[in-house]
C-alpha cells in the first residue's frame, strides 16, 4: 500500500518543488512568514524571514539546517506556542493562533512528568481533554505496545533510558490521533544505533497511521531517509534556502541509505551547507 503511494512527478532534486498539487489545496500554507525576537539588550533578532512553504496532507517533511537557523521557532509557530510577527501561516485555511487539538508535538527533550507513570504520561493529552474513558487507556496501551514499551506502562520515567523516554513522548503525541505531528530533533540525544532503530519505528508508525509530519533534525541522512521532501534552511536571517524532493521509493529501510540516489541527495544537501559556510566565512 505504501509502495503504491504516488511519488510527486520527478522534479529534479535541487529545484524547489512548486507548492502542493493544483488539485488539492495545501493542508499547511506558509507564505511570507517572519518572526523576530527582541533580545534583553533591546536588539531585534530575525529568527525567520520570508518563509514560504506548502505542505500537503499526509506528507512527511524533514527540516535540516545549522544551529540557530530558526527550525525550532518555525515548529513552535506551527504548534501555536509562538505567534508569527507577520505573514501567513494557515492550517486548513485558518491562521494558526494557538495550540490545536489535532496537532501532536514531540519536543527535543522528552518532557515527561516525572511524578506520573509511563501510562499516565501517555494518557495526559486525553486527561487534559477530560476524557478518562477505558477506550483511551486501551489506545495508550496499544501505542506503548507498538513502541515496544508494553512492560513499562507502570514504570516511572526515571526508570527508563533516554531513548525509551523519547518513545513514550512519541506515544503521548500520538494519543489524541493528531492529523499533524511536529517533531523537534526527537532523536538528537540518541546514539547512532538506537537512532536508526527509532527511525524505522517512526516510519512504521507513519505507515500505520498516516498523518502529516514535520520532522526537524540535524542529521542529513535521517532527513532524507524519512522525508518526502527535505526543507533546507540557512541562518542569519533564518530562511529556506532549498526544498528538495526525495524521489526514493517507499517502503524505505536502512538498505535504502546504501543506494546511489540516496547518496546523491545527501551530497547535494551537504553542498548547500558548504556554500552557506563559505559565504559565512567570506563575510
Amino acid at each position: 500500500m505504501i509502495a503504491l503511494k504516488a511519488q510527486p512527478a520527478g522534479d529534479a532534486y535541487g529545484v524547489p518543488v512548486p507548492s502542493a498539487g493544483a488539485t488539492k489545496p495545501a493542508m499547511i500554507h506558509i507564505a511570507g512568514l517572519e518572526k523576530s525576537f527582541k533580545t534583553r539588550s533591546g536588539e531585534t533578532v530575525n529568527a525567520l524571514t520570508n518563509v514560504n512553504l506548502d505542505i500537503r496532507e499526509n506528507e512527511f517533511i524533514s527540516v535540516v539546517g545549522p544551529s540557530g537557523c530558526g527550525k525550532t521557532t518555525l515548529l513552535r509557530i506551527l504548534a501555536g506556542l509562538e505567534i508569527a510577527s507577520s505573514g501567513v501561516i494557515q492550517c486548513d485555511g485558518a491562521q494558526i493562533a494557538g495550540p490545536r487539538p489535532d496537532v501532536g508535538v514531540v519536543f527535543q527533550q522528552a518532557t515527561l512528568l516525572p511524578w506520573n507513570t509511563v501510562l499516565a504520561n501517555v494518557l495526559l493529552p486525553a486527561h487534559l481533554a477530560n476524557d478518562k474513558s477505558e477506550a483511551r487507556v486501551k489506545r495508550a496501551e496499544g501505542l506503548l505496545a507498538f513502541m515496544g514499551l508494553k512492560d513499562f506502562a507502570q514504570k516511572y520515567p526515571f526508570e527508563l533510558s533516554g531513548g525509551m523516554q523519547q518513545r513514550v513522548s512519541i506515544c503521548r503525541a500520538l494519543m489524541r490521533e493528531p492529523r499533524i505531528l511536529l517533531m523537534d530533533e526527537p532523536f538528537g540525544a540518541l546514539d547512532a544505533m538506537t537512532r536508526e532503530a527509532m527511525n524505522m519505528e517512526l516510519m512504521r508508525v507513519w505507515s500505520e497511521e498516516r498523518k502529516t509530519v514535520i520532522f526537524i533534525t540535524h542529521s542529513i541522512p535521517e532527513a532524507v531517509l524519512l522525508g518526502d521532501r527535505v526543507v533546507v534552511m540557512s541562518p542569519r536571517p533564518g530562511r529556506i534556502s532549498e526544498i528538495i524532493n526525495v524521489d526514493v521509493g517507499r517502503p524505505r529501510s536502512l538498505q535504502t541509505m546504501a543506494t546511489p540516489r540516496f547518496g546523491e541527495i545527501c551530497d547535494h544537501i551537504r553542498t548547500i551547507f558548504g556554500a552557506q559556510s563559505l559565504t559565512a566565512t567570506s563575510l
Binding site: 519536543f107 518532557t111 486527561h127 487534559l128
Partner: protein
C-alpha cells in the same frame, strides 16, 4: 543481606565505634584531670541524670509541653507559609502588595520579638506556639515561592501544546514541580521549630524543656542540662527524619544520593 546493606551496616558500626571512643576519652579525661561536674560532667553522670529525670517522671510534663509547641507551631507556620506563598506566587497583585513587608519582617531576628509575644500571648503555650510558627513560616514561604518559579519552561510549553488550561497546568505541573523545594523548606522548618520553641521558653515559660534547662542551669545541675540537651537533639533528629521520610515518599522521583543514616 545485600552488598549495599552490608556496607551501610559496617558504616554504622564504624560510627558507633567512633562515638564509643570519643565518649571513653571524654570520661577518662574528666576522671584523670578531676574536672568538676559543674564545668564538664562525665558521660556516665549525664546518662545517670537522664535516667533519673525519666524514671522519676519529672521530664514528662516538660517534654509534652515542648513537643506540643514544636508540632503545632510547625504545622501552623507551614500551613501559613504554604497559603501565603501560593498566593504570592499565583496572584501578582498580592506579590506587589505583601511581599516587601514579609521580607522586612523576615530580616527581624525572631528572638528579639519573642519578649513581645510573651506580653501579647502570655506565659502559656500560645506564645511559644506563635513564636515557633513564625520561625517556621519563612523557610516554607521562601521555598514555596522558589518552588513555583522552578517550573520547567519546556514542560510548561508541553502542557500548553497539549491544550492544558491554567488550572490543569497548576494542578498537574506547577504544584508537583514546586513540591521538591517545598519539602526542602519543610526540612529546614522542622529543625528551626525546635529552636523556636526553646527560645520562646527561655524568654518566659512555666513548663517545657527550655524552661527545664534554665532551671537546672540555675541550680548548677550541669549533668541535668546535658541530659535535657540529649533529649532536645533527639527531638530535632526525629523531626528531621520524619521530613526526610515524607520527602522520600511524596517526591519519590527525585533521585538524590541518600545512603541511609540508619539502615
Amino acid at each position: 543481606m545485600s552488598a549495599a546493606a552490608k556496607q551501610s551496616r559496617s558504616h554504622l558500626l564504624q560510627s558507633i565505634a567512633v562515638a564509643v571512643i570519643l565518649l571513653a576519652v571524654w570520661e577518662g579525661a574528666c576522671r584523670q584531670f578531676d574536672i568538676s561536674s559543674i564545668v564538664l560532667p562525665t558521660p556516665s553522670a549525664v546518662v545517670a541524670r537522664l535516667y533519673a529525670l525519666i524514671s522519676s517522671g519529672m521530664i514528662w510534663p516538660h517534654l509534652w509541653a515542648t513537643l506540643i509547641e514544636i508540632l503545632s507551631g510547625f504545622v501552623l507556620g507551614a500551613v501559613a507559609g504554604l497559603v501565603i506563598g501560593a498566593m504570592i506566587s499565583l496572584i501578582p497583585v498580592f506579590e506587589r502588595l505583601v511581599y516587601p513587608y514579609l521580607v522586612a519582617l523576615q530580616t527581624l531576628p525572631k528572638v528579639a520579638i519573642a519578649p513581645l509575644f510573651i506580653i501579647w500571648f502570655g506565659y502559656g503555650l500560645t506564645s511559644k506556639v506563635v513564636i515557633t510558627a513564625l520561625v517556621c513560616f519563612f523557610p516554607v514561604l521562601v521555598s514555596v515561592i522558589a518552588g513555583f518559579h522552578s517550573t520547567d519552561k519546556d514542560q510548561l510549553d508541553m502542557m500548553r501544546a497539549f491544550g492544558a488550561t491554567k488550572w490543569q497546568t497548576l494542578l498537574r505541573l506547577r504544584i508537583p514541580s514546586a513540591l521538591v523545594l517545598i519539602f526542602a523548606g519543610f526540612e529546614i522548618a522542622a529543625v528551626l521549630a525546635v529552636i523556636g520553641a526553646i527560645v520562646g521558653e527561655f524568654v518566659g515559660a512555666q513548663v517545657g524543656l527550655g524552661y527545664l534547662v534554665v532551671t537546672l542551669n540555675f541550680g548548677m545541675d550541669v549533668p541535668g542540662v546535658f541530659a535535657v540537651l540529649i533529649v532536645l537533639s533527639a527531638i530535632g533528629l526525629a523531626m528531621h527524619g520524619l521530613m526526610r521520610y515524607a520527602a522520600r515518599r511524596y517526591i519519590f522521583w527525585i533521585r538524590r544520593n541518600d545512603a541511609p543514616v540508619i539502615p
